[in-house]
Symmetry: C2
């Protein structure tokens, strides 16, 4: 890092099996803030239990972590040598069928919510459905409410039409916190150029995933291949609209893969690759963000752009995303057109 | 009022059937802050629904009310000509059997919780039980947790031994938000001198109730009788440890009395006086706090002491009660001994 002050490092999606070990990894890796998934298919009451578990961790490890609420908490984390933890939901199950729970969960610290996870939800369509009718009636209401209170719309696991409609309907820039380029590794979870351009044109953000199923060559993906994909994304979206959302699931037991895929919607085991894949050797834990930064330098990124991708872009996005009453304000990231690219 | 700035007016317990009419009454009455009951016998999920209802009111009437979180919000309310609304629970039903819900509810804005309501609870004994074994095992844990997060222990509906033990166990001053002197009107809900002295000696607060069942001569109680009782309480407790907690239930339908008394614990109607009694003609709505202040002047209170009783004492108590990490700090009100009285 160069310059007067160290740039922020932010991982905008992870779901580890947290423990003191991982909180120490975060510090060792210089990670100033994470967006962590607290619920997938849990209902409201179960989500509150998950928040309770995090509250105990915050109470037990105050020298390592604290609850992140605003963008300013990232700079506070840097100043205090701790990691700010922002909560997110990968599905809308926690709001059940009750729009009032959006504000309640925001008050409890939730700053991101996916409108759907693989399947059709009450709000939007998931990326594994055969048909995508777009944002639902309730989806439109919930998007407006998320805009109002300051909760980021995340379309990582959503289908293309729903994603494009969410980008258009939202009065604030939205995010795909953890996915890669479909043209680099064509799986349903990775995003086509059409989505990336629409995201960038509205000041939205893409976070790059390091989960092997989202990587070309899977567990054997090479760092230079990943970093070349980042460079290609910068060409498509502008370097100001991209960051990291590693999808790191460190220390999770394999049955968590079944939970993610099956939730409560099916009795059938979703057997295909129902174990966590081996991580690439260059990204195995929260200690490895420096290797990613070095890889970006290796494919020609300038230091300022590396700082942007490793955290400063997310921080700027956070600054206009988490507090109420800014839904008609300036876009939180720099739209593609303003960067003179695309 | 005299002096440079207007003194704060705080009603530290009410449970009206809120509407725009009552929010306008609060402004017309110059009430800067209220502590309102949001739940009696509701469980956690039902309490969240009640919070959701308040969130809609805050969104609909931002020129009249806002969610109070800290003592500073009372001064903000004065500056902005609005009323800060602080949430409270009259029973521990909303935390169910889960100590983690104390912090969750505090994050959602709850600043007061009674440890019991008339009956035995998981935490303490109510004032209508035949036997009072004192604070329970879980009660001790919850008192410590309330101290930690900044939620006031309220013993208004609790029995004497439990109340005295709560005062002793709590590391922060506690409150009886709405009750009167037992010697003035001897009913189980009013408090004996022993409790009042123990409260005051630890910097705790008593809020005077204007609910007719707590008043000598009930609905026909005279203002000068009530104010003489306040003067007597000031002799016992010191003028710094008393305030108003009107127990105003404006516009509530009579079936709410059954809900308060029966909750979910009995199938039998609790028929005795199961309707709201007529309020004294001098205190019928939130517009009438000025009459109480005038009554205090009528029995000889100096203006500074009237300001203290009408709100400034509660404000000082709020300053040390609502935020985490002060449980070993200075008492929030002036202990009786320091006032040279008693």
């Amino acid at each position: 890092m160069n310059g007067r002050s160290r740039a922020a490092v932010i991982d905008c999606l992870q779901y580890c099996n947290y423990s003191e070990e991982i909180f120490r990894d975060l510090r060792a890796g210089g990670v100033d803030a994470i967006h962590t998934t607290i619920s997938y298919h849990e209902d409201f009451r179960e989500t509150v239990d998950n928040i309770g578990r995090w509250n105990r961790w915050f109470e037990t490890y105050p020298d390592l972590i604290f609850a992140g609420r605003t963008a300013a908490d990232v700079r506070r984390a840097q100043a205090e040598g701790r990691t700010a933890v922002f909560f997110g939901l990968q599905n809308c199950s926690p709001i059940e069928d009750d729009i009032g729970l959006v504000e309640v969960l925001h008050t409890l610290g939730v700053r991101f919510m996916q409108l759907s996870y693989n399947n059709q939800s009450l709000l939007a369509t998931g990326c594994y459905e055969a048909n995508d009718p777009g944002i639902t009636r309730m989806g439109r209401e919930v998007i407006a409410e998320m805009n109002r209170v300051g909760m980021v719309i995340d379309m990582s696991h959503s289908a293309t039409r729903s994603t494009l409609e969410a980008i258009e309907l939202s009065r604030r820039p939205i995010a795909v916190t953890h996915a890669n380029l479909h043209e680099w590794h064509p799986v349903p979870r990775n995003k086509p150029v059409e989505v990336l351009k629409a995201l960038a044109e509205t000041g939205g953000m893409l976070g790059f995933s390091l989960y092997p199923h989202h990587l070309k060559d899977g567990s054997d993906c090479r760092l230079d291949s990943f970093c070349a994909m980042v460079a290609r994304a910068a060409e498509i979206m502008g370097v100001a609209n991209i960051g990291i959302g590693s999808d790191l699931c460190q220390n999770q037991p394999d049955d968590v893969v079944q939970w993610m895929r099956r939730g409560k919607w099916t009795k059938e085991p979703q057997t295909e690759r129902a174990a966590f894949p081996r991580q690439p050797e260059w990204f195995r834990s929260n200690r490895d963000f420096g290797k990613v930064a070095a890889g970006l330098a290796g494919v020609g990124f300038a230091q300022a752009d590396i700082d942007a991708v490793m955290g400063e872009n997310w921080l700027r996005f956070f600054e206009h995303s988490f507090t109420p009453g800014e839904e008609s304000g300036a876009p939180s990231a720099i739209p593609l057109a303003a960067q003179g690219r695309g």
